[in-house]
């Protein structure tokens, strides 16, 4: 009994270590964007809130209209939803105000991709986080995971899908740019390679230091995003989350990978538990006849 119990306690401790994964939690490494990464650069000082991009996005992506207001006469989605992959919001900071364009940030290390069981959401060509409905079971874990609240679900449909900005990848395939950047009359949002956009953002900040807060949102936030923002108001006043530089999935992934690296811990646990159960049964059979044979 003594030895067995000691072995049993060892087994349970293994289980405990298995469950916490604290033994091998490694610090996150800053992810590098894909070599072909493209993205958007949005400048709050240029946007006049005309919402031409909202309508162009609905057209380009065959999205139904999203009428609101009295008698549903006003076509203006109030937030991202299954009918709107791109919206313009208005934020106030004291007596100052700013428009903010909201769509998928196309994270370099996205939480939605970490969440997705069969990789329906995945970074594909140009680093675009794109959606393949064939591998989606509609679990909505991506909605829980996304720090920006971007993926949306077709709640009204009996055969629902996830809806999110895919940076008009169907237009890029035809050599066109995304609908939102194409129609923007003030070039408040522009399309390009992420490296070029980052350079452009830095140039604007350097040439007009008084005009912008000294930060490019998305350069490092949440491990970096392919959509970048520069602004005349602090980002925390514009609805942006304070994420730090670690990729959003860091905490969950370090636990998950810490426990299951190489599948060693579960196999070891299986071996230990199997051995103890085997020894206990043999001992019970030797000592106690009723245990013999068909025990559950």
């Amino acid at each position: 009994m003594g030895i067995t119990r000691r072995a049993a306690i060892c087994g349970l401790l293994t289980a405990g270590a298995t469950a916490t994964g604290i033994t091998s939690t490694s610090a996150a490494v800053m992810p590098t964007p894909p070599a072909d990464a493209v993205g958007l650069l949005y400048d709050t000082t240029l946007c006049i809130g005309c919402k031409a991009c909202v309508v162009a996005c609905q057209d380009a992506n065959d999205l139904p209209r999203d009428p609101v207001g009295i008698d549903a006469r006003y076509d203006a989605p109030v937030d991202l939803n299954y009918r709107a992959k791109n919206v313009i919001k208005l934020y106030h900071d004291g007596d100052q105000r700013s428009f903010v364009k909201v769509q998928c940030m196309h994270c370099i290390d996205p939480a939605c991709v970490a969440a997705c069981m069969l990789g329906a959401l995945k970074k594909r060509e140009f680093g675009i986080v794109s959606y393949d409905v064939n591998y989606c079971v509609g679990c909505r874990y991506c909605e829980v995971a996304c720090p920006y609240g971007v993926p949306k679900f077709q709640w009204a449909a009996a055969t629902p899908r996830i809806v999110k900005c895919e940076l008009c990848n169907h237009r890029l395939a035809k050599g066109q740019e995304p609908a939102c950047t194409e129609v923007c009359p003030r070039h408040a949002v522009i399309f390009g390679k992420r490296a070029d956009l980052l350079k452009e953002a830095k140039r604007r900040l350097a040439e007009n230091p008084g005009r912008y807060v000294p930060k490019i949102f998305g350069e490092t936030d949440g491990g970096g995003t392919q959509v970048l923002y520069i602004s005349h108001l602090p980002f925390d006043k514009l609805g942006f989350p304070a994420l730090g530089d670690d990729p959003a999935p860091t905490l969950a992934r370090s636990v998950q990978q810490g426990v299951y690296k190489g599948f060693v811990a579960p196999l070891a646990l299986y071996g230990v538990l199997g051995m103890i159960a085997y020894r206990n049964r043999n001992k019970a059979e030797a000592e106690d006849a009723p245990h013999k044979g068909g025990t559950l």
Binding site: L118, V144, P290, G294
Partner: protein
């Protein structure tokens, strides 16, 4: 000892089973509603709260409440406490039913339920960073292991019946399952350890949108240990239920022992919870005075209540007290899971969620089905042990 197990017998149609069948019937109507008209129509779920009652209760809490087989299995097979063997079969029946219904809960919750079969089969697409994938695969495998291990008991009326080629096949099958019992026991225990802890990993992916009181890498360990406590509590509750419903003598020695085994797991949960907050320097957040701080405090209090209720041997031998303590324990574990999945989640001030009537009807209906199926199974198959019909009639 399991050879002493015998069907309870008696009529299957009673006032009780009729009542539970009726409640389940209402649930079936709500299930049809959800399948025909979609999640938006049947539930209060929304883009801010994409996980609701079905995930928090039917799946996450349901799987923990179905931990009786795991909790008693650890005692019997690993800690070599053979005296608890008689409660192994009923515990496994509640486990098999509970996990199966958690699986049904998942099937109703996912939007594209008809493509769910791809998850176990499309192995080349598996994303091992996803705790949800691991939970899904483990639970599917665990359901299979539980029913396979129960199969000899469920086949027993048949294998002891008149001879036929199928009867002989059933006997061979039962023998094979019995031969494989040790690898299957170990597999079951590993699968349960894996998914019960990974259920605690799930919400960590919400990162900054999970409240700081719950955002800790210790969450998986706290989920694992509290699931064992809940497993014992459910076995105590189930045994007390059986003794009242089927007029059997309560197995008070066994239940007192189980209550004794439950107490240390409760202590571990409380010490982990408080120790983790202290380690992370977040004890102050418990006294912030907001709703979430109150809920986290209530969690700790409800984990402490059964510890106090089961402190002395006399308390552990008082059946009424045992049942109340088990209920307090079940409530504590349930609260912990609701908090982690719903209260701690912060999608933004403009979102709110409260389960709809059909959503609640599905959850209540599935619980009613579980009770119904349990009653039918223990009356028909050799699950409960220790007393013959004559002994019961003499009671």
């Amino acid at each position: 000892m399991s050879t002493h197990a015998a069907p309870v017998g008696g009529p299957l149609v009673t006032t009780g089973t009729r009542l539970f069948a009726g409640i389940f019937g209402l649930g079936v109507i709500a299930i049809a509603w959800r399948l025909l008209l979609g999640l938006g129509s049947a539930t209060a779920l929304n883009d801010g709260y994409p996980f609701g009652l079905w995930i928090a209760f039917d799946v996450v809490t349901g799987a923990a409440l179905a931990c009786g087989g795991y909790a008693v299995g650890l005692l019997v097979y690993i800690l070599n406490q053979g005296k608890y063997h008689p409660v192994m079969r009923p515990a496994m029946v509640t486990s098999a039913l509970g996990y199966t219904l958690a699986g049904v809960g998942v099937g109703l919750d996912v939007g594209r339920w008809w493509s769910l079969w791809r998850v176990p089969l499309f192995f080349w697409r598996w994303n091992f960073n996803s705790a949800l994938l691991e939970v899904a695969l483990c639970i599917m495998a665990y359901i299979a292991v539980l029913w396979l291990r129960l199969a000899p008991a469920l086949l027993e009326p048949y294998t002891s019946g008149p001879d036929s080629p199928w009867r002989r096949r059933a006997i061979t099958f039962s023998r094979i399952i019995d031969k494989l019992s040790v690898p299957m026991i170990a597999l079951g225990l590993v699968l349960a350890t894996m998914h019960q802890s990974s259920l605690g990993t799930l919400m960590l992916l919400a990162g900054s949108r999970l409240h700081i009181l719950w955002r800790t890498p210790m969450l998986p360990l706290m989920f694992l240990v509290s699931s064992i406590s809940m497993g014992y509590a459910v076995v105590v509750f189930e045994s007390a239920f059986s003794s009242v419903a089927f007029k059997r003598k309560p197995e008070i020695d066994m239940l007192a022992g189980l209550a004794g085994a439950m107490a240390p797991t409760l202590w571990v949960v409380v010490l982990l919870r408080v120790g983790d907050l202290a380690w992370r320097g977040q004890v102050g957040a418990l006294f912030a005075g907001d709703g979430r701080a109150v809920m986290a405090t209530l969690e700790i209090v409800f984990f402490l209540i059964p510890i106090v209720m089961l402190a002395s041997p006399a308390q552990r031998r008082d059946l009424g007290n045992l049942v109340r303590a088990a209920m307090a324990m079940i409530f504590a574990g349930t609260l912990f899971r609701f908090d982690t999945f719903l209260v701690a989640f912060m999608p933004g001030a403009n979102w709110s969620y409260f389960p709809s009537v059909p959503e609640t009807a599905v959850t209540v209906g599935l619980v009613a089905f579980e009770v119904l199926a349990y009653v039918v199974i223990v009356k028909t198959f050799p699950i409960l042990s220790g007393q013959t019909l004559a002994e019961r009639q003499a009671l």
